[in-house]
């Protein structure tokens, strides 16, 4: 718990684009130390949810608190408590990864540069300009920028996609360690293996509704995959509401 409040708290949060409902009313609590994998097909509402949580979009209804801060009322304070990796990494192309992290540390008032580079596996390339990086390296640089100041909440939009197996594995292990130390982590992904390996909890979203909320450990071996097939592929109906 952060200041007596859960890491992420949504109450009756919904979002519509015109007549299209992207997110049906949703209640969700994610506590400190939870590493939550958010999975679902394209257009399911994952990115809408993450954008609401990171103050990039307003909810049509409901209240959103992250790190104990009302995201709508005080987006700046909320951002200070969240490390964000957006779907498309936003970085200064003509800075090196080390300089990018120095910039973030200066903005956030502190951080551990070497630990962030280590998490992202960028130590050897930290002094190269970001525009020389491959897509996977850019994603890792964005991840390093998100974790460098050790924020209490991490929100990662497909941050593991496109990473080579070695780096994906390293990032998963390091994220799991951060979660064990109390960080709240919510990550969207299409990689069921990743969710099965590291997530302490899995949320499956379809048609703007959460259709499954489970703990992989309790599901047993291959449980996430079977739940996914049950709820997302074999015509499992979304719950009403």
């Amino acid at each position: 718990m952060i200041g007596g409040a859960p890491g992420i708290s949504l109450r009756g949060v919904s979002r519509s684009y015109g007549r299209t409902v992207a997110l049906h009313p949703l209640d969700l609590e994610v506590g400190p130390g939870e590493l939550v994998g958010l999975i679902g097909p394209n257009g399911a509402g994952k990115t809408t949810l993450l954008r609401i949580l990171t103050a990039q979009l307003l909810p049509s209804a409901g209240s959103v608190r992250v790190g104990g801060v009302d995201v709508v009322a005080d987006p700046g304070a909320a951002r200070a408590r969240i490390g964000i990796v957006p779907e498309e990494p936003s970085l200064y192309d003509y800075l090196s990864a080390r300089e990018m992290l120095q910039y973030v540390i200066a903005l956030r008032g502190g951080g551990d540069l070497e630990a962030a580079l280590d998490l992202a596996g960028l130590g050897a390339d930290a002094d190269r300009l970001i525009h020389e990086y491959s897509q996977g390296m850019r994603r890792r640089a964005a991840l390093a920028a998100a974790v460098v100041s050790d924020p209490p909440v991490l929100i990662l939009d497909e941050a593991l996609n496109g990473l080579d197996p070695e780096n994906a594995m390293r990032v998963e292990v390091k994220l799991a360690a951060r979660a064990a130390a109390g960080t709240t982590i919510l990550f969207s992904t299409h990689l069921l293996d990743s969710v099965e390996r590291v997530a302490t909890r899995v949320l499956m979203v379809r048609g703007g509704r959460v259709v499954a909320d489970a703990r992989p450990k309790e599901l047993g071996p291959d449980g996430v995959r079977m739940l996914f097939r049950d709820r997302m592929i074999d015509g499992g109906e979304a719950p009403a509401g």
Binding site: L58, E88, S90, L95, S96, Q102, Y103, R108, L129, E132
Partner: protein
């Protein structure tokens, strides 16, 4: 390869530090054309001096009355254009700057951001003031006029940035102020409410800055003719500085920009898809062309219409004004407007070339002559209304510039070389030079009345 050693320290002002590094390294990595590009407008202004300086000197030799009237007319227009361009560019820099994506991820340090942004704005727009002052250089033979021009133009520059900053930074707050919701609803048209404040901000800033500039011109008039009221000359300076100081506390509004812009984009999202399935303007031209040519034309017609529509419709607007000017017996103005319109239209070909994906060339090679021909036909189609407008009168001048513009577009389109990247300063320079040529060399054209 390691990045060059960074100077300075991020902790004092992280924005200024990061943007400074970005700017200097981008500059160092750019081609020679990109390095020279920012100097283009200044060079064009210098080159144009002999062309129009002679005409100006003719007028300077006349009696005080007509001379002063000409001077005030000329300076006021230039100052208004300068202030207007700054109000618009301040909006782009503050609200939709390229660093928006990074800013939206982290907490804001408003004072540091404001200082870095203002430094960026002032340094980046210094050459704009330089261009206008160079264009006024022929006035050196009349020091009072030169001083008055410098006063008005520097005031326009300062008030354009100052008022632009204050109004554009106030816009995100206005968008969320309950008391203004009714007003915003009344003026927003089809736009989302949040968008209305941002949409109208540059216009509002332009109105305020324009008022200050007009007062300044009146002050300049009083000064050069020895009347009372010369103090009005410094109104834009005072307003500009006051607005700048007032804009500093408004910087905290930038914290709300990501949500605001996200909402605007979300509001437009439902309208985005139908556009893709609709036929575009002039698509019939591609259907009637031979298959190979038609395929290239279709690509340019669709891509151009969807990405460069502002340029196309902006050129048409100038085309209408061209026709109006010719019809009203103002061939000089008509020729100038037509030239600018056609330069814009020609520039569209260059922009298309700049955005050609390299991988497509490699995957599906197309003969350069086919691409150039297709692009020329498409641009000629877009420029058609402008050329038609020019045919009312002064057809020769307009057509010459049509071919000049298309030629320039063709060079860029076929080589994609010299205008690649940040091309606009070069093209601005060329357009400026083209206008100067019309003004200075147009046969029998009376420049100013």
């Amino acid at each position: 390869m390691s990045a060059p050693q960074a100077r300075g320290d991020a902790s004092a002002n992280p924005y200024a530090w990061a943007w400074g590094l970005e700017r200097s390294r981008r500059h160092a990595a750019g081609s020679w054309a990109e390095k020279l590009a920012p100097w283009g407008p200044l060079a064009a202004a210098l080159l144009s001096l002999p062309l129009w300086g002679a005409s100006l000197h003719d007028y300077l030799g006349r009696a005080d009355g007509p001379r002063n009237a000409l001077f005030l007319a000329m300076v006021s227009r230039m100052a208004l254009v300068l202030a207007g361009a700054l109000c618009l560019s301040t909006y782009s820099a503050l609200i939709r700057g390229p660093e928006r994506g990074v800013l939206s991820l982290h907490p804001l340090r408003p004072n540091a951001w404001w200082s870095a942004k203002m430094l960026d704005l002032f340094m980046g727009r210094l050459s704009w003031l330089g261009v206008t002052l160079v264009l006024m250089a022929p006035l050196h033979v009349a020091p009072v006029l030169a001083g008055a021009a410098a006063g008005v133009l520097s005031g326009a520059w300062l008030v354009g940035i100052g008022v632009g900053a204050a109004v554009n930074l106030a816009a995100p707050l206005a968008a969320r102020t309950p008391a203004l919701q009714g007003t915003l609803d009344a003026i927003r048209g089809m736009n989302p409410r949040e968008h209305a404040a941002l949409l109208y901000a540059p216009g509002f800033a332009l109105g305020l800055a324009g008022l200050a500039v007009i007062l300044s011109v009146q002050g300049a008039g009083a000064w050069i003719s020895g009347r009372e009221g010369a103090w009005l000359l410094v109104v834009p300076h005072v307003v500009g500085v006051a607005a700048l100081v007032g804009s500093r506390p408004l910087a905290s509004a930038v914290d709300r920009l990501p949500t605001l812009l996200g909402e605007i984009e979300a509001a437009w999202a439902p309208y985005a898809d139908p556009e893709e399935s609709r036929r575009v303007y002039l698509e019939w031209m591609a259907e009637r062309a031979p298959a190979v040519l038609g395929r290239e034309m279709l690509k340019d017609l669709r891509h151009g219409w969807r990405r460069l529509r502002t340029g196309i419709s902006g050129a048409w607007l100038l085309g209408v004004l061209t026709a109006w000017a010719f019809a009203a017996g103002e061939p000089t103005i008509g020729a100038q407007l037509g030239a600018v319109a056609l330069a814009i239209t020609g520039g569209l070909a260059v922009l298309l070339a700049v955005r050609d994906p390299v991988w497509l060339d490699e995957a599906v090679p197309v003969a350069r002559r086919v691409r150039t021909l297709a692009r020329a036909v498409v641009v000629l189609g877009w420029g058609g209304p402008v050329v038609a407008a020019g045919l009312f009168d002064g057809a020769g001048t307009c057509l010459i510039f049509a071919f000049l513009a298309l030629g320039l577009g063709g060079v860029g389109a076929s080589t994609g070389l010299w205008l690649r990247g940040r091309a606009w300063p070069v093209y601005t320079a060329v357009a400026l030079l083209a206008v100067a040529v019309v003004v200075g060399l147009g046969p029998g054209v009376e420049v100013v009345r």
